[in-house]
């Protein structure tokens, strides 16, 4: 079930490229606008890049997350999922993994662009950035997928998602930004923040899996 849904979502995305294209262009715009707004030199950009990168990815991820469940509303697909005997969590994991892949692709494409535009050169060990990116992306995406399922039931659903996702994501965002900054500047150890992200991921994945079935079946 997980694999079937995941493969279906990936194939749909491969053929339409809706989510990745809109996210990419959105993130690109954010990068350009921030660059104009702050106009940093190399030293400054190392200090602020962590914040810029993650804010851009956070906003861009919302674009993809909003589409997660919206495409299942057409032709009552979501209702079909509800009556099917397959476990609800399998569906959730498929959606979360799909979003995780989309955002990771976005980050792989946008990362080099950030380096070019902001003249970044990491002082600390750069491979740790990959660990931070993976953990941070999962932190955003797992809650985002869950909250997208909440906000799809509300009026003005597109606006609802960031309103409920951002407050809950503040600690994760802080951990991502600070670990990225400490790696880029090489001034402090990011170990605490990486552990923090890991705790956040584990805790919220557990909460999502615990509650998703009741949210899917909410009437």
């Amino acid at each position: 079930m997980t694999r079937a849904t995941l493969v279906k979502d990936l194939r749909m995305e491969w053929r339409s490229k809706d989510a990745v294209n809109s996210m990419l262009f959105f993130a690109l715009l954010v990068v350009v606008i921030f660059s104009f707004a702050f106009n940093p030199n190399a030293e400054e950009s190392r200090q602020i890049a962590g914040g810029l990168i993650w804010v851009a990815f956070l906003f861009a991820a919302v674009v993809a997350l909003n589409q997660t469940w919206a495409r299942e509303l057409r032709n009552q697909v979501l209702d079909a999922y509800r009556v099917s005997p397959a476990p609800a969590n399998a569906l959730f994991l498929a959606k979360a993994l799909g979003n995780f892949l989309f955002v990771t692709i976005l980050e792989t494409l946008m990362g080099p662009l950030f380096i070019v535009f902001y003249n970044l050169r990491s002082v600390g060990p750069a491979w740790q950035l990959v660990v931070v990116a993976l953990l941070g992306t999962w932190a955003l995406v797992v809650n985002g997928t869950f909250f997208a399922a909440l906000s799809i039931r509300t009026r003005s659903r597109e606006i609802m998602l960031p309103l409920i996702l951002f407050p809950i994501s503040i600690p994760a965002l802080l951990a991502m930004v600070d670990s990225t900054t400490s790696i880029l500047t090489g001034e402090a150890s990011p170990d605490f923040w990486i552990k923090m992200l890991l705790v956040y991921d584990v805790v919220f994945t557990a909460v999502c899996l615990l509650l998703f079935e009741s949210v899917l079946n909410a009437e």
Partner: protein, 229 residues
Amino acid sequence: MKLLFRIFLALTAVALAFAAYQGLVVAPTEQTMGNVQRIFYYHVPSAWTAFLLFFANFLASIVYLLKRNVAADAVAAATAEVGVVFCTVVLVTGPIWARPVWGIWWTWDARLTTTLVLWLIYVSYLVLRRYSTGSQTSLLAAALAIFGFVDVPIVYMTIRWFRTQHPSPVIGGGENSGLDPSMWPPLLWNWLAFSMLAIILVVARYRLQMMEQEVEDRHAQAALQGSEQ
């Protein structure tokens, strides 16, 4: 029930007046901060009351998720709303106190930031309640309440690490911290009065919520019967 509510209302009014007298007149003037420290008797009890209400909201949400009980949902809605009110009082009195004492309105220290994030989470909870339609509101809100409650300790830990220079707590802090014994009675009186006020508000809000539910049910019933004829 109605009589009981009125008696409790009168008691609360008396307690609030007495607590205000305790805080403004009986309590000793603080040595270094002067009279401005008296805002403490509003700030701290409001904070305690708000945290208690949010905890009650978490418990009510769990009960709702397990039992799908309408009353539990009404309690969750009432406690979240009143909690946000008290939390707002904390966030407003805080800067008023901080400006003359610390010289700044705001600092991103662990407790201030955690309270602010807590406030943001529960405002988003209220927004979700407002924008979702029909009977699924309760379930969606209960799920979000669980997320919010789990988030708060994580927020506290991250901010504590982020800003290590935060002032140590006065109550239950280190050895040299602690409240003058004469300040305890006014504080506790105010807390009692504020808790009573919170209970009044929650009960009133709870009954309003239940009535709204009943009106909705009757409308639905009437619509069903109308369509049958």
